[in-house]
């Protein structure tokens, strides 16, 4: 059961935050409100009137709009076309032609009325993520909705874009719109929400005011006290383990993504790479792992030349790797927990050889790792796809940390992971560092990079703009992430 008798009331003109871990049932609840799912029991009342939503069309007609976590935009359409999609202005009857001019005018009018600048003629694929999100919001607003549901809207934004979004939300509520803000980020909740409802395991476990402390909110969410800070001692860096020199890598479309990067990671330290998603971090890491062709430059692990090695050999020479997109690259969802735990070691002793697998050893390993990494699953034979995001990630972490490592690379190690598991994964990463492994952490969450890293490299448009200490003020790092170097001298340590 994803939702268990939930009561929630949203008043006009308020930002109502819906706080809960991944898998708590937030999205399920909102999908019912938006007509994507039908409740088995209970009802939805809009302006004192019980309503049944069979599809999003009904919900929109009742004045409810939704901006999904993954945008529902057609990349090759213009902004105006995307906004008109689903409610096209047509001239000359049902089989008439599209009235593009009127669609365009509607977009301009709405964007001016709510102070949300969008260019109606720009192609959506050319827009930065923050602007795409604005398009989604404008799209909802042109449908004359009174209640706007924002599903994890800040997950893809830079700190600056997040601030802009919060300002937009304030101005919308000032104009009488209501907003349901789904998130698991406590800072934002405290900054914007008028009321907070906390959901855990499909039930409302409490309501809170924005004055509630972050620790209390986190405890409500997880059901126990959690530490939000990464606890660690100062690093004791040793020899240089990973050396990247003049690395040049292209992305899938052949566009230069990494443009001459030099980096060094030493044993026993965490090098964090901060940056807004899409500034070359993904390609950088993939190139190091042998998953992407290196155009120029060198990548050395101690004395090994990684550029010439296959991914298999790199993994087996003592490199652990958590890919950024867990469900795409990290796990095989149809495979059992046990199989996923040996996904890159299945033909190595003790799990098997070049011909056959030793299922007993694979199962035994699974039991051990499940225990050690606190993976919540029914049994080692459970398909990984049925686990929560946090537990799936623990499977990946357990797999990659269960062999002697020289280098550990973690891309977005806690994306889509609940607060309780974040704490655990962070502590494992620090533990790995303290054992003398060189650690490279890539994250678009600045808090995470600052918390984990001993040094922070800020990437912007394929280059490392600066390497700074984690004590650097957030605003300064935020500006660097936006490509503004200002008074920060390059290469500051």
């Amino acid at each position: 059961m994803a939702n268990d008798h939930i009561d929630i009331t949203v008043e006009p003109g308020e930002v109502h935050a819906l706080l809960g871990e991944n898998g708590a049932g937030k999205s399920t609840l909102m999908n019912q409100l938006y007509g994507l799912l039908q409740p088995d029991e209970g009802q939805i009342i809009v302006n004192d009137e019980p309503r049944v939503f069979k599809s999003p069309r009904d919900a929109i007609a009742a004045g409810i709009g939704m901006v999904h976590q993954h945008f529902m935009l057609v990349p090759v359409f213009t902004v105006a076309e995307n906004i008109a999609l689903g409610a096209e202005e047509v001239r000359g009857g049902p089989l008439g032609w599209l009235d593009r001019r009127r669609s365009r005018r509607d977009v301009i009018e709405t964007s001016q009325r709510y102070g949300l600048p969008v260019d109606p003629d720009a192609l959506v694929e050319d827009l930065p993520v923050g602007a795409q999100q604005r398009v989604e919001i404008v799209k909802a607003l042109t449908r004359e909705v009174d209640l706007l549901i924002l599903d994890e809207p800040t997950a893809v934004l830079t700190p600056q874009e997040t601030q802009e979004l919060l300002a937009v939300m304030r101005s919308l509520t000032a104009m009488g719109k209501s907003i349901v803000f789904i998130t698991h980020k406590l800072k934002e909740v405290k900054a914007i929400a008028d009321r907070i409802t906390v959901i855990r395991r499909g039930q409302v476990v409490g309501t809170a005011s924005p004055d509630t402390s972050e620790e209390e909110l986190a405890a409500l969410m997880v059901g126990r006290a959690v530490s939000l800070e990464v606890e660690k001692s100062p690093a004791e860096p040793g020899r240089s383990v990973l050396k990247i020199e003049g690395l040049v890598v292209d992305d899938d479309r052949g566009v230069r993504a990494v443009d001459g990067v030099d980096l060094e990671v030493r044993a026993g330290e965490v090098l964090g790479i901060a940056g807004v998603q899409g500034n070359g971090q993904t390609e950088l890491v993939e190139a190091v792992m042998g998953l992407r062709e290196v155009r120029a430059g060198a990548v050395r692990l101690d004395d090994d030349d990684l550029v010439t090695m296959s991914t298999k050999r790199i993994l087996r020479s003592g490199v652990g790797y958590i890919p950024e997109d867990r469900s795409h690259d990290g796990v095989v969802k149809e495979f059992s927990v046990a199989e996923n735990l040996v996904l890159d070691m299945y033909d190595q002793a003790p799990y098997g050889n070049a011909f056959s697998l030793d299922l007993g050893k694979v199962g035994g390993n699974a039991k051990e790792r499940i225990e050690q990494f606190d993976i919540r699953c029914q049994s080692p034979a459970t398909p990984v796809g049925t686990l929560s995001g946090g537990n799936q990630q623990k499977v990946v972490v357990a797999r990659e940390m269960s062999r002697p490592l020289r280098l550990f690379i973690a891309s977005q190690p806690t994306r889509g992971v609940d607060v309780g598991s974040i704490e655990f994964i962070h502590s494992r990463i620090i533990h790995e560092r303290d054992q003398g492994t060189a650690v490279l952490v890539v994250s678009s969450e600045l808090d995470e990079v600052v918390g984990l890293a001993d040094r922070i490299a800020v990437m912007y448009r394929g280059r490392v703009l600066a390497i700074v200490s984690p004590d650097t003020p957030r605003e300064e790092i935020g500006l660097l992430m936006a490509g503004i170097t200002g008074d920060t001298p390059e290469g500051e340590k």
Partner: protein
């Protein structure tokens, strides 16, 4: 085996398969009724005397399906005659023998499709690979003249190699250039079929003294052993069971099986974990081709004993349906092939005894597969709801 049965039941697929067959049989009954002019005439005065129409419908349908069952599994009358001593045991088991004879090649082509599918490849090319298997096994069978056992072994291996070669090509093209295997295997099906038609009328291949398109006969030492007489069944069906066990091991216990399942389920994650996706595709298509080739070999060495343009029949395409019906699991595929074999054998008898076209069997096969492929439809018809609630709930309960 018990684990396999448990899995099959728990997934509720057996119930679904069974219900699909019931539906297909019901629709088949309707077709039998409407295609019989005498019965239809009785429906003309249905309101006056409904019993006439209903009785004659029942009679024609029950006779037809009784013949189908007798043709597939055996005629009780012949069995009693055997016990009474007026018929031989061979006659009693002839229907079952026909079922197994039809099933054997389909097991191999079905396994070929199923295995490729588990690795994320849609092997439409089982037909072409089977044809190449026929060609290679046939030529080896009438050329070398080796001693007993060895001759058969060499011919079988030749069939595997021929099919594997025809499977390797699309695998290699996909790994190297990204050419979609559906397109390339369809093209190779045509190439293989036309090659066979050309080959059988070439000198040295064509049977001496014949003007029609038929090759020399496979040496007796290269033929799959068979009881002979009315019993056409041959060693191929035992080979099929062994190969099914082998494929099952390959899929579930071997390192390569792990790789191909990982690649099939999520090629990106497989690549990230260091598995060579391209290498897996090539090897997998070669193995799948080899299986289909073996199917073609059993057809030539077990049943046909000579090459003709139609020697492979439709076994490659039947393999697609068999794999689908068997849900791409080795043992499931084996049972699906047996079912299709039974339908074919029964269909032969239904055609000659009840004068119902063999095409009805094709319709039944197609209907079963359609209902299997559209489980939602069957579930809706029989109001099965249990599976939906859990399945859908889990996929949407994201958070």
């Amino acid at each position: 085996m018990t684990a396999f049965l448990r899995k099959l039941w728990s997934a509720n697929t057996v119930a679904l398969t069974f219900l699909s067959m019931v539906l297909a049989v019901l629709i088949g009954a309707l077709l039998i009724i409407v295609s019989d002019a005498d019965v239809l005439a009785k429906f003309g005065y249905f309101t006056a005397r409904p019993s006439d129409a209903i009785e004659s419908s029942w009679a024609v349908v029950s006779t037809a399906y009784a013949d189908l069952l007798k043709g597939a599994f055996g005629d009780p009358q012949v069995f009693s005659a055997w016990f009474a001593g007026t018929a031989t045991w061979q006659q009693a088991f002839a229907p079952l023998s026909e079922t197994l004879t039809y099933a054997a090649p389909m097991v191999f082509t079905g396994l070929s499709v199923a295995l490729a599918f588990r690795g994320g490849l849609f092997n439409i090319g089982a037909q072409g690979q089977a044809v190449l298997g026929c060609v290679a096994a046939g030529i080896a069978g009438f050329t070398f003249g080796l001693p007993v056992v060895l001759n058969l072994l060499v011919a079988l291996i030749a069939g595997v190699v021929g099919g594997a070669l025809w499977g390797f090509i699309p695998g290699f093209l996909k790994a190297r250039t990204g050419a979609h295997e559906v397109i390339t295997t369809i093209m190779l099906n045509y190439s293989a079929g036309l090659f066979l038609s050309w080959l059988v009328i070439q000198q040295g291949i064509q049977a001496p003294g014949r003007t029609d398109a038929i090759s020399k006969t496979v040496a007796e030492t290269a033929q799959l052993p068979s009881p002979g007489g009315v019993l056409r069944v041959h060693l191929g069906i035992i080979l099929a069971v062994l190969v099914t066990a082998g494929v099952s091991w390959l899929l579930n216990r071997s390192a390569f099986g792990f790789e191909l399942r990982a690649v099939g389920a999520n090629p990106h994650a497989a690549k990230t974990a260091g598995i060579g996706v391209g290498r897996t595709y090539v090897l997998l298509m070669a193995i799948a081709g080899g299986l289909a080739g073996l199917g073609g070999a059993t057809q030539v060495l077990g049943t046909a004993h000579a090459l003709t343009p139609a020697v492979a029949g439709n076994i490659g395409f039947d393999g697609l349906l068999v794999a689908l019906l068997g849900r791409n699991r080795p043992w499931g595929t084996l049972f699906a092939a047996l079912l299709f074999g039974a339908l074919r054998a029964g269909g032969d008898r239904m055609q000659s005894f009840a004068s119902i076209s063999l095409e009805l069997v094709t319709v039944l096969q197609a209907l079963i597969v359609i209902f299997i492929a559209a489980p939602a439809l069957v579930k809706a018809i029989f109001r099965l709801r249990a599976a939906r609630a859990t399945g859908l709930g889990a996929s949407l309960a994201k958070g």
